[in-house]
Amino acid sequence: MRSTGPWQQYFKLSVAALPSARGLLPLVVLLGVWQLLQTDKSPYFPPPSDWWNGLMLLSKSGRLYPALSATTMTLLLGLVLAIAVGTGVGLFVGVFPRLRRAIGPLLEFLRAIPPPAIVPVAILFLGYDERMKLTVVVLAAIWPILLNTSSAAERVHPLLLDVARSFRLSAVDRMRLIILPSVVPAILLGIRVALPVAIVVTLLVEILTSIEGIGALMIGAQRNFQSPQVYGLLVLIGLFGLLVNSIFAVFEAILLRRWPPKTQSENF
């Protein structure tokens, strides 16, 4: 039927999900100009070539990789937990309108509190450790996922629910066959929003508490006025964020290939 294998199809979808490479030109030009304009060694604006040296220095001292893996672990574990709990609670709240109405204002208030404000609370309650870091990431990343899931579960087309009734589906089958498939795009949208939040909060905890991670490394470099390292780490974090987002975009494109295309209103 189809001449291309699934992997070729996945590859095509992945390429389509990423922007074209020539758009990188302004960034490359900017960095090039920065490099060339640097006549003397400025303590505040070191040229990009120095950034690389700064990173190499960190990597040689053996501090870069443990920090990178600590940050990655916290982020991944935090996201997995937030997705599991957020989707579960979101479905539950969305399916029962009374429950939604009852705890809606509470959720709205909790969401209004900026995620970073949880950090000091968590420090006070849980102390300075990995567990605290993870808790904060989960608490911050859960809201977009939970709220998107619940509002999508609430807005499942009535016709689909009628179908479930016509086929006399059990509650479990109704959830599995009707509701879950119709909320998957919303869950993915929620995760897309939660990703940057999780990254920001992970770094913030590390900066505030100096628990091992890229954020701690960065604030340490700033305190020692190692400006090349600060810029180098900034680029590293940027690349890290780009990588995480791209992986997710590819994953989303592959997962959503059977769903109808996004409408304008969802695509904000």
Binding site: L24, P105, E108, A112, P114, L147, L233, L242
Partner: protein
């Protein structure tokens, strides 16, 4: 709106749950059921809030945070809308910069805090370094999306009326792109508050963000929670104000409110 409709509009079960949680929290702490050293009862938090307000600490802190939110958001709006229009109108500009935007967009705001500290020390400028870039993206991307998403038929209308370039932009594209721009502005405003608080926590020891950290380090959880509640309330007020403003400016926005 008459009184009965107002009463019907209030979410009674929701209010009851909020009140119940507040009371249960109060009771649990008072009775020693929840015996955490750092968990103050809601009444203690309220007293702490009153104390802060009376001592005249809270007012200036709120003012400082609001001012940095205003500066960051205004700068992001001006930059974001003009760049968004540029990118939305020119396919060439889009082709040669979209990937750069995609590289810069996931940059977490906090990561700029050490750079800001390096350049400007503990100051409002550092706060702006942290705030502006992340706040810029929702406005820019939504403006661009709004401008590129204007329906072809509307362009045809402009051509039929022989509108010049300037009139096409002002009378056709701008009104048509307004709803997504307003949505972007709203997301940005919420983000600006979050980032101002973050910046105050790490970059500039002033305002509500620093208040939270200061009271945490001073082991005064009641005052810390008072600050957090204040930040949450400001978030709600800003969001509601933005919605009211959008509805007043754009009658059609009311239909778009069914947002997540």
């Amino acid at each position: 709106m008459d009184k009965r409709r107002l009463i019907a509009r209030i979410n009674w079960p929701g209010t009851a749950v909020l009140a119940f949680i507040g009371l249960a929290w109060e009771a649990a702490v008072r009775s020693g059921l929840l015996d955490y050293e750092y968990l103050p009862a809601p009444s203690v938090i309220a007293v702490g809030w009153g104390e802060l307000a009376r001592q005249g600490i809270l007012g200036p802190d709120i003012a400082h945070t609001l001012i940095s939110v205003a500066i960051g958001w205004a700068a992001a709006m001006v930059l974001g809308i003009s760049l968004g229009f540029l990118l939305g109108l020119s396919a060439t500009a889009r082709r040669y910069s979209l990937a750069s935007i995609e590289v810069l967009r996931p940059m977490p705001g906090v990561a700029f805090a050490p750079v800001g500290l390096l350049l400007f020390g503990f100051s409002l400028k550092t706060e702006m370094v942290v705030t502006i870039l992340p706040v810029l993206w929702p406005v820019l991307v939504n403006t661009m999306g709004g401008v590129t998403g204007v329906h072809q038929r509307l362009h045809d209308v402009g051509r039929t009326f022989r509108l010049g370039r300037r009139d096409t932009i002002l009378r056709i594209i701008l009104p048509a792109a307004m709803p997504p721009i307003v949505v972007g502005a709203r997301i940005s405003l919420g983000l600006a508050l979050v980032l101002a608080v973050v910046a105050e926590m790490v970059g500039n020891p002033e305002g509500l963000g620093y208040g939270i950290v200061r009271e945490q380090q001073a082991l005064r959880p009641d005052l810390m929670f008072a600050y957090i509640v204040t930040v949450g309330l400001i978030g709600i007020v800003l969001n509601a104000g933005m919605l009211a403003l959008a509805e007043a400016l754009l009658p059609s926005f009311r239909q778009l409110r069914g947002d997540p």
